[in-house]
Amino acid sequence: MKYVTTVDEKEFEIEIVDEHHIRVGDRLLPVNIESVSGQPVFSLILDGKSYESYVYQNEDEWEVLLRGRQYQVKVEDEREKRLKAAAGEGVAEGGEFHLKAPMPGLVVTIPVAEGQEVKKGQVLIILESMKMQNELKSPRDGVVDRVRVKAGESVEQKQTLLSIQ
């Protein structure tokens, strides 16, 4: 199995040769990987070097935390990648911005109302979490479209709080 893996805008061609070997570019390397205690923590022994890392899947990407550094990694099946490249990728951008809760918390106050015009950087919602008050600001100028929460309400992470048209 061959993969094309992208980190920090650099591409690596990695082939899983067999259970004990991978090929990175031209180099054939002995490899052994174990997940620790069934957790997203991996112990990797690569050509004698021992590494340990948290590896999380984050939607389409992989997030690797290694020796205090975080890497966003894109892993693509070589065949898949070729097909995609052939088809071309079109990114559609919606006109509406949805403010999502960056963390679970309590809505303290909503200093804006539906229909109100807001400027970039204007505070839309104050969210309290772990005893800190966090100001959630508008990323651009616009008009408040729908406010989906009330002051005093508890919200989950990634819950949509309001929208800007």
Binding site: D8, I16, I22, F42, V55, R69, Y71, G105, S129, K131
Partner: protein
């Protein structure tokens, strides 16, 4: 002399206090919110009583309920820890009224130091230097504050009168932005302390935050246990503390120490407390405030002096004399504490909640971990994000940094994100290693990406391999699941067919 101590707190500090009590042969009573039924302080205490729902206001801030529990359980002393009720004069007074020993200072000392304005006035009288500000006693309106601000001079700080821990604090660069900042500071102070009053203070630029640990007994003995350097902060929250400060020499240490003792004596202080100073580039130092309680960062002082501060607090509250004279306090080696917070350093330090599924503590020589969490425990958004303190000791500062590096590298916590990578990056920072930093260092001259981008590149390939192998394993696993499901579904299809046939 009391025999049973109620700990009016949660988390690592409640555990720390229970340990001290147990080591002194005292019984312990824990109190807990609904979110904390399985918390370590509940598991370790001899007795445990429910306070109420998770929010602090309905649990750990319910002084009335806590006092009822003390009476009902026969606890004859209360240790408040830090935060919550620790600096509430009225709570300390009520304990005294009920004949319960409050393991802390007298209510009058809390009051004298608790109102930051009064505190400044008091210490000025004792000849202690303070940062220029609105030290006038009493609460000022926004109008008053706006009027007096230009006299204090910009940049200045708005600070909560009842405050601590950076809550309700705002930095103001000009008169124009001040009204909005006053409002948000008051709002945060009101939420955190139930008191929206604020005062102004000149912002000392390039300052270091250096504090002195004081202990005083009820026989008039007051000594200091040296300083802690706490300049590594973010949004006025301390992230790392060390002792001794790389910035002080013996002469300045002795001078500041005796001023700290004087400040404590000015309010007739008993028990453990901390005098916070700002020290500017020219080594001028200013009294900032006194924390009339045990401090989060007390372990670094314990590591370099060998004094068990919590045990000493309890002995003092039992009426004993200090176990040490100032001359007997010896400083040995260097200690560093990293506060491990459940927050994501790669995502603007937003708090992270969830269940801890796995944890591996760094151990071995010179390493101490104070924590209240364990695998299976749920981190909720109701309380402080600090889940552990990692403390190391080394013969020298350099050795302590090396030891901290290896301890941070060993520490595993799965289930929530932590700021351990922040501390790892900090330990690699040349400025930190050189001791060249002030309280703005983290916010202004530090970046999670900056350090050693060369070694980042070298490791990028390893990261790529790790992700690829994880992705490959996952693809293999899901292929198996699909295959198994196919079989299962087919059985269920049969059932469906059978049902249709016999309808």
């Amino acid at each position: 002399m009391f025999k049973k101590v109620l700990i009016a707190n949660r988390g690592e500090i409640a555990v720390r206090i229970i340990r001290a009590c147990r080591e002194l042969g005292l019984e312990t009573v824990a109190v807990f919110s609904e979110a904390d039924r399985s918390a370590l302080h509940v598991r370790y205490a001899d007795e445990a009583y429910l306070l109420g729902p998770a929010p602090s206001r309905e649990s750990y801030l319910r002084a009335d309920k806590i006092l009822d529990i003390a009476k009902a359980s026969g606890a004859d002393a209360i240790h408040p820890g830090y935060g919550f009720l620790a600096e509430r004069e009225d709570f300390a007074s009520k304990c005294a009224d009920l004949g319960i020993d409050f393991i802390g200072p007298k209510p009058s000392s809390i009051a004298a130091m608790g109102d930051k304005g009064k505190a400044r006035a008091t210490v000025i009288k004792a000849g202690v230097p303070v940062v220029p500000g609105t030290e006038a006693v009493g609460n000022m309106t926004d109008d008053d504050l706006l009027r007096v601000a230009p006299q204090v001079g910009f940049p200045l700080l708005i600070k909560a009168t009842a405050g601590g821990g950076g809550k309700g604090m705002r930095e103001v660069r000009s008169l124009e932005e001040m009204p909005a900042l006053l409002q948000s500071a008051r709002r945060e102070a009101e939420a955190a302390f139930g008191d929206g009053n604020v005062y102004l203070e000149k912002l000392v630029e390039g300052a270091r935050h250096i504090e002195f640990q004081i202990i005083a007994d009820s026989h008039g003995n007051v000594i200091h246990l040296g300083e802690r350097e706490c300049s590594i902060q973010r949004r006025h929250q301390k992230l790392l503390e060390e002792a001794p400060s790389p910035f002080l020499d013996d002469e300045l240490r002795e001078k500041m120490g005796s001023v700290a003792v004087k400040a404590a004596q000015a309010v007739d202080y008993v028990n453990a407390g901390t005098i916070e100073f700002l020290v500017d580039k020219d080594r001028n130092f200013y009294f900032l405030e006194m924390n009339t309680r045990l401090q989060v960062e007390h372990p670094v002082t314990e590591m370099v002096t060998g004094v068990d501060i919590v045990a000493e607090q309890i002995r003092i509250a039992r009426g004993r004399q200090l176990s040490y004279s100032q001359e007997q306090v010896q400083f040995n080696g260097h200690a560093i504490e990293c506060r491990v917070n459940a927050e994501d350093p790669f995502n603007n330090f937003i708090p992270s909640t969830g269940r801890i599924t796995h944890s591996l503590l760094p151990t071995g020589p010179g390493v101490r971990v104070d924590t209240g969490v364990y695998p299976g425990f749920e981190i909720t958004p109701y309380y402080d994000p600090m889940i552990a303190k990692l403390i190391v000791w080394g013969e020298t500062r350099a050795q302590a940094i090396l030891r901290m590096r290896r301890a941070l590298e060993e520490y595993r916590i799965v289930g929530v994100r932590t700021n351990i990578p922040f501390h790892q990056t900090l330990m690699d920072s040349h400025r930190f290693m050189g001791g060249q930093f002030d309280t703005r260092f983290v916010e202004e001259r530090f970046s999670m990406d900056a350090a050693a981008s060369e070694s980042r590149q070298a490791q990028a390939e390893i990261a790529a391999i790790l992700a690829t192998l994880a992705a490959h394993k996952q693809a293999e696993r899901s292929a198996q699941i699909v295959r198994r499901n196919e079989r299962d579904t087919s059985n269920w299809k049969w059932v469906g067919r059978w049902e249709r046939m016999h309808r």
